[in-house]
Amino acid sequence: MGIEWTDFVTALEQTLTMVGFSLCFSAIIGLPLGMALVVTRKGHILENALVFNVLSTIVNIIRSVPFIILVIAIIPFTRLIVGTSIGTSAAIVPMVLSAAPYISRLVENAVLEVDTGVIEAAQAMGATEWQIIVRFLLPEALPALVLGLTIATIGLVGESAMAGTVGGGGIGDLAITYGYEQYDYHVMFVTVVILILLVQFIQTLGNLISRRIRRR
């Protein structure tokens, strides 16, 4: 029972597919969610205790469910969304669901770092709330946002390993099936090296982009 190099290539493709798609979708959800967590808080431009508390609670609830349990628990929902509960695309659903609230917290942190004086300046020049968000908060928080998304991406690489549970495949799955369950240490070693390189690559890229934005 052998394993070919092409298996690694396929697995890497699966990992990149899962991470890429779930990053996109969870960022699309997490970004506005995180921004909402900032602007609806007390004393901020769209202060709204109800919205803030509801959103914050939902985020906390989802974030407290262990990923592997989330994967199983939402199978019916996954089937509803992608039509199947097995495979790479089925793995993306729980990954998005778990990463979106996480990203929202990272976004929240990044945006809160923006100097309140900048918001004051924006208000003083007659900016609308929407303009403050889009023209002031977002660009000022961008370098930190990129670093936050880098962290989230690496987290997703880790989660993709557990996606094997629903037949998502990927590098991590390879490591678990061949290395952990069948004691094939060569496969385990190669997969771990690939994962290290991948994480290293993502972090370096993230740092680079963030620095570019900061020092344009």
């Binding site: 100097d115 004086g117 900048v118 004051e120 300046a121 208000q123 003083a124 020049m125 007659g126 900016a127 609308t128 303009q131 023209r135 002031f136 660009p139 000022e140 961008l142 370098p143 934005i213 900061r214 020092r215 344009r216």
Partner: protein
């Protein structure tokens, strides 16, 4: 014209109720540079922020050109804010954008056409002397340059009022006076009303026409800079004036005075305005009467273009001669008072 009518601002700090503004009545005429001075926590920043409603008064009205801005709708308030520029202590520039983009921002927000923005921004950068820095980022600039960008940005929408919140407090003395003279130019050339708050009396002396002294949410003294400086009423105002006028007698002079000496002598303090009168009067008095006049200490500053100062003089001679000299000096309309505790 800006009018505060019985403005109060109260907020809760935990269980404590803080009266940031405690019944402010104040009028700022069009075209003047009005300074508000006070220690930190006196409420001056709150006062300033009531003019563009970055802080909303708890009670009272704020009238700008006769309109009660506290009654404005959100859209009206945004329009109003475009007519009121604001400059901040810590500049509050966007670090992610170039100098050009920072100055352009208020115009972009107001949806001004691009070609017009370009023209206006370059004109402003030219005016503040930073045309060559248009493509730089704020972190490549010095503090003074950043404040120039802040000022250019505040002027972008051609406001009629400029609010300066401790605009020079983060700058060194040299840069401060450059920025102050820029503000003065703006006031004179564009006829923009400037309301500034500061804790530095030197800023008031340098450029303001009128001044209000604040303490604990109240205006305790206000008037023309000249009147307040030459005749401060409250202790706080006196302290502030002292901080720049040095009317306090230096210790070395005090030591000199406390030394017992033969003969009758008295020490007087003279306040004089517009150098002309005083000195001839003193010399005349010395000639006319049988006494020696000795100038111990003096200080002259310029207030709104007029020399203004203090002199500490010693009269030596028989009591009768001293009194005659005093009457003579007083008749010449010079403010002369005995400096308490120095006579023998």
């Amino acid at each position: 014209m800006i009018t505060f009518e019985n403005v109060t601002k109260t907020y809760h700090n935990g269980k404590q109720i803080v009266h940031a503004l405690n019944g402010i009545d104040l009028t700022i005429e069009r075209g003047e540079i009005f300074g508000v001075v006070g220690f930190s926590g006196a409420g001056k920043s709150s006062l300033l922020r009531c003019v563009n409603l970055l802080e909303r008064p708890t009670t009272g009205r704020v009238l700008v050109e006769g309109q009660d801005i506290t009654q404005f709708s959100k859209a009206e308030l945004r329009q109003h804010r475009r007519r009121v520029g604001m400059v901040f202590q810590h500049f509050n520039l966007l670090n992610s954008k170039t100098v050009f983009a920072n100055v352009a921002e208020p115009l972009v927000i107001a949806k001004v056409p691009n070609a017009e923005i370009r023209k206006r921004v370059m004109e402003l950068l030219e005016f503040v002397g930073l045309a060559d820095k248009a493509n730089h980022y704020p972190d490549q600039l010095s503090g003074g340059q950043k404040q120039r960008v802040g000022i250019a940005r505040a002027l972008a929408t051609r406001p009629s009022i400029l609010l300066c919140d401790e605009a020079t407090s983060a700058l060194d003395p040299q840069t401060t006076s450059a920025i102050l003279s820029l503000l003065k130019t703006i006031n004179r050339e564009y006829r923009i009303t400037i309301l500034l708050v500061t804790h530095e009396m030197s800023v008031i002396r340098e450029i303001c026409d009128k001044v209000a002294v604040m303490e604990r949410g109240k205006v305790i003294e206000s008037g023309s800079v000249f009147d307040v400086f030459s005749n401060p009423q409250s202790d706080i105002t006196k302290n502030f004036v002292n901080s720049v006028m040095h009317t306090k007698i230096p210790e070395s002079v005090q030591r000199l005075l406390s030394e017992p000496e033969g003969g009758n002598r008295r020490v007087y303090q003279l306040v004089f305005v517009g150098a002309s009168a005083t000195q001839p009067v003193l010399f005349q008095a010395a000639k006319k009467f049988n006494l020696d006049i000795n100038i111990l200490f003096g200080n002259i500053t310029e207030l709104q273009g007029v020399p203004f100062g203090h002199l500490l003089v010693e009269f030596r001679g028989p009591e009768r001669e001293i009194n005659r000299a005093l009457t003579y000096v007083r008749e010449a309309q010079v403010d002369i008072q005995e400096a308490v505790g120095y006579g023998h």
